[in-house]
């Protein structure tokens, strides 16, 4: 169909949780790319009778663009060769761009495939400031999606120096400056202090932190101080999204204690804890792992200022890619070696580690991870603060979201799958107690759209009220929820029909989402001096601003 300036999506069953609409048959009106309250009767109609209508999906945490993602792409030519994507033919008969998929698709494939699932907004979750210019260039080549990225802080030399010196205000000004010059969207903290130790060298045992009060270089710098400093900065700067935290000890047995300690360290203020599944394990090193989802979710349920995304593990191939480089070294060497492994130490800032990985349902740890993720979803009392994610491509790719939705909505299917997985470590899992919950369509709309939009502070996203961006997904209802969510009937982006029954129809450029908080510019004088002494990139060339 064409994409007129005015369009009435007529008679669909609308799920718009932000506006309290839960499965109500009503029209959704669009004018000039926005939702409007009403349209003249002669406006073009799209008959949505029998269809489920939701806002476009919003991915709060995904790795889709920038230096680390590109290193991961380069690492797996065989995956790309096995998943070549011809250029889609658009409605005007022209061809869009070809590409390749696998667990780390090319930029164009990323845009088209997200749109194909009904997602219209995504946040790249980890960009080192030094790579910001690169990340923007990739997002420029990622069509349809409105996108932004989170800027890595918390292992950067300048910040740690300010913390050591007790310069909290300067740390805040620095964070604000950095978000502005990189054109980033939010502050991302990855394994605070741990990556800095990994980069500073030495032998095993000294090159990561193990808890919130470990010392990082200076005795006054600890993961706790880093969290507190940046958490307070994000709130003081009134950023639309609070600190986005990847806690210490990712993937370690017994790490739930660190996770809870991190949440408590930021208690009373907004903070988002990402891929919680990877941080919710009981047990201890050398002993069997177990689920600690109950303990972690109990805390989240009781603390309205805390939000999370799950980072569900889905069986099949994945690529683990993270700034948490010591963890990737562990993964690369702990399983007998022989895996491809990338490590890039990023000067003064951060790290990058990559290991391609396959989650097998017959593997005990993978089965535990799968179960822990589902437990978190099913034990969550407030879906507004528990976002659906696979930490693409770490726990699985975004293409597995429909399957994940089915696991959440269909208990009998879930139980059947549960029987097929390795049971060895599932002893303490709430799943075995017969968690009977089934997510409703409204709850799915919350965890895939309304919730993440609200948590990101994207007031025009994730809902269908007047003034919202006309990002709308229409599904043909199907008892098989995986099938239903895998192939939307229509996807509209800014009022334009971009996907029709799985076919890409148009591929407009997306918008960039970024912030530019105010700060005391006195900090730049000190930063300039720091750059002259320590950096290999000129201060004037740093960041991602256009140069004359």
């Amino acid at each position: 169909m064409s994409s007129p300036a005015r369009l009435r999506i007529a008679g669909g069953t609308v799920y718009d949780p932000t506006n309290g609409v839960d499965g109500v048959v009503r029209d959704v009106c669009i004018e000039d790319g926005r939702i409007v309250a009403e349209l003249p009767r002669d406006a073009q109609r799209l008959d949505a009778g029998g269809m489920v209508v939701m806002p476009g999906g919003v991915d709060i945490h995904s790795h889709i663009a920038g230096p680390s993602v590109n290193h991961a792409r380069r690492l797996s030519p065989e995956e790309h060769a096995a998943d070549a994507m011809p250029a889609p033919r658009l409605e005007d008969a022209t061809l869009a761009r070809s590409g390749t998929g696998g667990t780390v698709p090319t930029t164009f494939a990323t845009g088209y495939r997200y749109a194909g699932l009904g997602y219209t907004t995504a946040m790249e979750a980890a960009v080192a400031p030094l790579g910001a210019r690169h990340a923007h260039a990739e997002l420029d080549d990622t069509p349809i999606l409105d996108a932004g990225f989170f800027v890595l802080l918390g292992n950067d030399d300048y910040l740690l120096r300010q913390i050591a010196a007790g310069e909290t205000a300067r740390a805040r000004d620095y964070a604000a400056w950095l978000l502005g010059v990189t054109r980033g969207y939010a502050i991302k903290i990855v394994n605070p202090g741990g990556v800095a130790l990994w980069k500073s060298g030495g032998s095993d045992g000294t090159r990561n932190v193990t808890g919130l009060d470990d010392i990082v270089g200076s005795t006054s710098v600890t993961p706790r101080k880093i969290l507190e400093t940046l958490g307070a900065a994000a709130n003081a700067l009134a950023l639309p999204h609070p600190v986005h935290v990847h806690s210490n000890n990712l993937g370690q047995p017994g790490n739930y204690a660190t996770t809870l300690a991190s949440m408590k360290a930021l208690g009373g203020q907004r903070a988002h804890f990402t891929h919680l599944q990877f941080h919710s394990y009981g047990g201890e090193r050398g002993k069997p792992w177990q689920s600690a989802a109950r303990d972690v979710m109990e805390y989240v349920n009781a603390h309205p200022e805390t939000s999370v995304d799950v980072g569900q593990v889905m069986f099949g191939p994945a690529t683990t890619v993270t700034a948490d480089s010591p963890v990737e070294h562990l993964l690369a060497t702990s399983t007998g070696g022989g895996r491809k492994w990338v490590n890039v130490d990023i000067e003064l800032e951060s790290g990058c580690g990559i290991v391609p990985y396959v989650y097998k349902e017959k593997a005990a740890v993978a089965a535990l991870q799968w179960a822990v993720g589902l437990e978190l979803f099913l034990l969550a009392k407030d879906p507004w603060r528990v976002v659906l994610s696979t930490d693409h491509p770490n726990g699985g790719t975004f293409l597995s979201y429909p399957e994940l939705i089915r696991l959440l909505m269909d208990r009998s299917y879930r139980d059947e799958r549960l029987k097929a997985v390795n049971q060895k470590l599932l002893g303490g899992s709430a799943l075995l107690d017969g968690l009977s919950r089934e997510y409703t369509l409204q709850e799915i709309a919350i965890v895939t759209r309304a919730g993440p939009a609200r948590l990101l502070g994207l007031t025009n996203k994730g809902h269908l009220g007047p003034g919202a961006d006309a990002d709308v997904t229409l599904y043909t209802s199907d008892a098989d929820r995986a099938k239903m969510f895998a192939t939307p009937r229509y996807v509209l982006k800014g009022g334009t029909v971009v996907v029709e029954e799985g076919q890409l129809r148009r591929a407009p450029a997306g918008q960039r989402l970024s912030v530019r908080p105010e700060y005391d510019t006195a900090v730049t004088k000190d930063l300039r001096r720091f750059f002259e002494q320590n950096a290999t990139v000129s201060f004037a060339n740093y960041g991602a601003e256009a140069v004359p």
Partner: protein
């Protein structure tokens, strides 16, 4: 206005991409490139480049040349798009789009470091951006390379000033020697190089082995590296017979990775200039592959053993678009283009020696054109224009792409 200075200019003379160059322009010519090394000074020159537009050797309008270029590309049965040096990532993105649209073979100067790239695809990498090496390394091993020759400011900028806490070891492999002023030299016979690397890796992995006496210095070197807090290995990724050996490239990666057990280690692979690392990055994010991409089947396919050089030598290619400076082309690629129907869009295109049918001179990225380029360690940097020049490569390539029309059939 007779004198103008532009600060923080990025030089693409080699892969170091030094971004601290101060370019002074007087009376329309570059008179100084402050901070630049000899190689950089030569790269900037006086900033004067030809601004000719030729079709079949005759002067032509830009419009006519673009039309001719588009026509020869659309008519081609087996087109090649080659990304040469001294163009921005923005122009490279357009060049790949043309390759996609034409179902062409696409290759670039990034292929010159193929052995290192392929090794990294088989095993991964243990590396660092160069500033981290300068900051952390207490031991730097230059493996059969003296950067002062082809990467003159590498040592000063990226492995840092000499100091008591940083040791420099030069490994000499045949004629490929480490820096002259190394604190220690280790000599390895060229035929022993891959074995020496394997033995070192075994030592690092803690395996007991009886290495032949001639490997004694390599064994000592491995032990010394294990005692470092943060070791860096610097090797040349650019062609010489040794650098192109896939086993050697892989053995270097494997050693660097293994050293991250007992200590930390980063392998820095030196790459040449002209923003070839940008071509690698752009091709990777648009196609999934870093060089030698063939769109002939309608999707990107990786043909590392059948890149531009092989396709040209095999007579498969009937027409080509070269985006970038023809002077930067590898000799065999330039030779292979002779007699083909070729359009060149780039700096000094009109000086191409292989007689292209269309030559459109553009400015040089980083001298006359802004944009983005990548350092050899994949750090993106802005390019600044110090003086005006001929039409921008980005604009010309984009216009050609638009002129091709959208492909509407398979």
């Amino acid at each position: 206005m007779t004198e103008r200075a532009t600060e923080h200019v990025t030089c693409l003379g080699c892969g170091c991409a030094c971004d601290d160059i101060g370019v002074v322009v007087k009376h329309g010519r570059i008179t100084q490139a402050n901070n630049a090394c000899a190689l950089g000074a030569a790269w900037f020159g006086d900033g004067m480049v030809p601004a000719e537009i030729r079709v079949d050797g005759q002067a032509a309008t830009l419009e006519k040349a673009i039309h001719k270029a588009a026509t020869l590309l659309v008519r081609a049965k087996r087109p090649l798009v080659y990304i040469a040096g001294d163009v921005s990532c923005e122009a490279q993105r357009e060049a790949v789009a043309i390759g996609d649209r034409l179902h062409a073979a696409v290759d670039s100067l990034a292929a010159t470091a193929a052995a290192a790239v392929l090794a990294a695809q088989r095993r991964g990498r243990a590396t660092a951006t160069l500033g981290e090496i300068r900051r952390q390394a207490d031991l730097v091993v230059f493996w059969a390379v003296d950067p002062s020759e082809r990467y003159p400011r590498f040592t000063a900028r990226y492995t840092g000033e000499r100091r008591a806490s940083r040791a420099v070891i030069g490994v000499d492999v045949g004629p490929s020697r480490g820096p002259r002023d190394s604190d220690l030299r280790v000599t390895i016979a060229p035929d022993d190089e891959v074995d020496a690397l394997a033995i070192m890796r075994a030592i690092v992995a803690g395996r007991d082995l009886d290495a032949a006496e001639r490997f004694e210095s390599a064994v000592d070197l491995a032990r010394r590296m294990m005692r470092a807090r943060y070791a860096a290995i610097v090797a040349d990724g650019e062609p010489s017979s040794a650098a192109a050996d896939p086993d050697r490239a892989e053995a270097l990666v494997a050693l660097a990775q293994a050293l991250n057990g007992p200590t930390r280690c980063a392998l820095a692979t030196l790459r040449a200039g002209g923003n070839r690392s940008g071509a690698d990055a752009v091709l990777t994010w648009q196609t999934g592959f870093p060089f030698a991409v063939d769109f002939a089947g309608g999707t990107p396919a990786y043909r590392p053993a059948r890149g531009a050089r092989v396709l040209l030598a095999g007579g498969e290619i009937d027409a080509a678009l070269v985006v970038g400076s023809p002077a930067t082309l590898p000799e065999d690629v330039a030779e292979g283009l002779g007699g083909k129907s070729v359009a060149v869009v780039g700096p000094r295109a009109s000086a191409a020696t292989f007689g292209p049918g269309v030559a459109i001179d553009t400015g040089v990225a980083g001298i006359h054109e802004c944009g983005t380029a990548f350092r050899m360690d994949d750090v993106p940097l802005p390019l600044r224009a110090s003086l005006p020049g001929p039409p921008a490569a980005l604009n010309v390539v984009r216009t050609i792409r638009e002129r091709l029309g959208a492909r509407t059939h398979e």
